[in-house]
Symmetry: C2
Subunit: 302 residues, 2 copies
């Protein structure tokens, strides 16, 4: 199978449809609003957002296809020599912020890049993954999340889950807090050594496993009773999400650097956030437990 | 006058005291809490924070003196050749977030850097300024703010205000929003061409004029009646403040890069923030007026 950008695009648009339909059903509210947009420099996207739903306080699922003249350094970690090439980038990116503090935030992204230069062979690669950020820790949720991540990887090699799980722990890390963003999942980038067909199959496997990983967790947490204390902690912890996305996230920085559509890029930011100076959880509390047991890289399937 | 770091330090500590005392009085609540901290790499600071006061929802005023081995690129815009030198940085930095949406957020910073290398003369410079970010526009407030900024500059040369006012407009700009952070004020950096004594006098003039610029504005807005609509807009606009500080601000990035004390650096973030997808103000509303008349670089003293 040679490089087939149309097949990637068709898959991504379908993935966006499937995830939106399932999450709208889980939400039980008015569903997603759609905004299509064009990028002045070339390309565009289809943003879908659900705000103030019964279950999801904010859910953003964005498809984009962007053409550009000069690939910025943030696009590829390991191939600075490609910076400056003309490129095309296609992807689906989503962040889901439930209202209930017992239901975790989740993020998924699958993307395909192709960088071209006259007289040379195109260079392409896939990247993506999914990761979860709980406010309160539930071991069974984390185990289910990682089991599903492993199921997405296993057909592609015995060590794939372990490798991309580790990369996820390393990537979603707030250096200035010395703290992971959440309990991880999968992260991969610069993937092309399997050839196009197999790499594209892996994109589909990751994309298709996201709902299986996330939906059952939301389903069992969305009606769990909570109070002001839990809500307050959720808003405080959401601040870390903002810090990560604006300071470290490669996709956010790539989007802002390439003149992407700001509202679609920043759709990932939580709807409502608090910062408090030097706050620390009470020892022995469920909030302290999150830091001690969940916000540490851990082998969930050991 | 030769380089006198102790004099700078004494001035900065006194400035922090003066500003804290005046703002605590304006607030009428419990005043500031103080945290002293040491930086593992060398140096430390004195953070003062007031949270949930009657007038100020969050006010952070931080003194710090930091020693480091390798000067990061973010420390100086125009002298990349200094990167890697050992350095000392002293400064006072503050951000004030009033509760009342009619009262603007303000920021001020004055700082002194000295970069050393064995066998070479030390290189030093001053930087700083102050700027204001209103949620609702009041022409008289903006004029007063800029008049005071000009008064701080005028003894140092006829073109100083104009130059540093322009630099402020350029610096406090959110490229991804195509929008200034607020109505500006003063910004300067890499200042040493006046010699140490005069440059230090300018630091004092900027530092000493901040309260004259800000306090009367807070005093006349802090009790102005507002409703949920104004509060909501304030929380939404505060999102821009977070975006600027985490994506662009040199001081924030310098602090995080040099292993600064995260809680003191991020003291600048607003206490309570909202993001809403693709929100636009109603044409003809006071919120639209902010964008049209105030969030544009303007000559306030023309």
């Amino acid at each position: 199978m040679s490089i087939d950008i149309d097949a990637v695009k068709t898959y991504l648009l379908g993935l966006q449809d499937t995830i939106c339909a399932a999450l709208a059903e889980e939400d039980g509210g008015q569903g997603f609003l759609e905004d299509s947009w064009e990028r002045p420099g070339g390309g565009g996207g289809r943003s879908r957002v659900l705000e103030e739903g019964p279950v999801f306080e904010k859910a953003g699922i964005n498809f984009s296809q962007v053409f550009g003249e000069g690939l910025p350094a943030s696009a590829t970690a390991h191939r600075p020599e490609l910076a400056g090439r003309s490129f095309q980038a296609l992807g689906v990116s989503l962040v889901i912020h439930p209202r209930n503090p017992y239901a975790p935030t989740s993020h998924a992204n699958v993307r395909f890049f192709i960088a071209e230069k006259p007289g040379e062979a195109p260079v392409w690669w896939f990247g993506g993954g999914f990761d979860m950020t709980p406010y309160y820790g539930f071991e069974e949720d984390c185990v289910h999340w990682h089991q599903t991540a492993k199921a997405a990887c296993d057909p592609f090699g015995a060590d794939v889950y372990a490798r991309y799980k580790k990369w996820c722990d390393e990537y979603f890390y707030l250096k200035h807090r010395d703290e992971p963003r959440g309990i991880g999942g999968l992260f991969y980038d610069d993937l092309n050594e399997w050839g196009f067909a197999q790499s594209f199959a892996f994109m589909r496997s990751v994309g298709d496993h996201y709902l299986q990983a996330y939906r059952p967790i939301v389903a069992r947490r969305k009606d769990q009773v909570y109070g002001e204390r839990e809500r307050d902690f959720q808003l405080y912890r959401r601040g870390r999400y903002v810090e990560f996305n604006l300071v470290y996230d490669r996709g956010t920085i790539f989007g802002l650097q390439t003149g992407g559509r700001t509202e679609s890029i920043l759709m990932s930011l939580p709807p409502y956030v608090k910062w408090r100076y030097n706050w620390q959880p009470q020892p022995g509390s469920p909030e302290a437990e999150l830091y001690e047991l969940y916000l540490k890289p851990r082998e969930w399937l050991a």
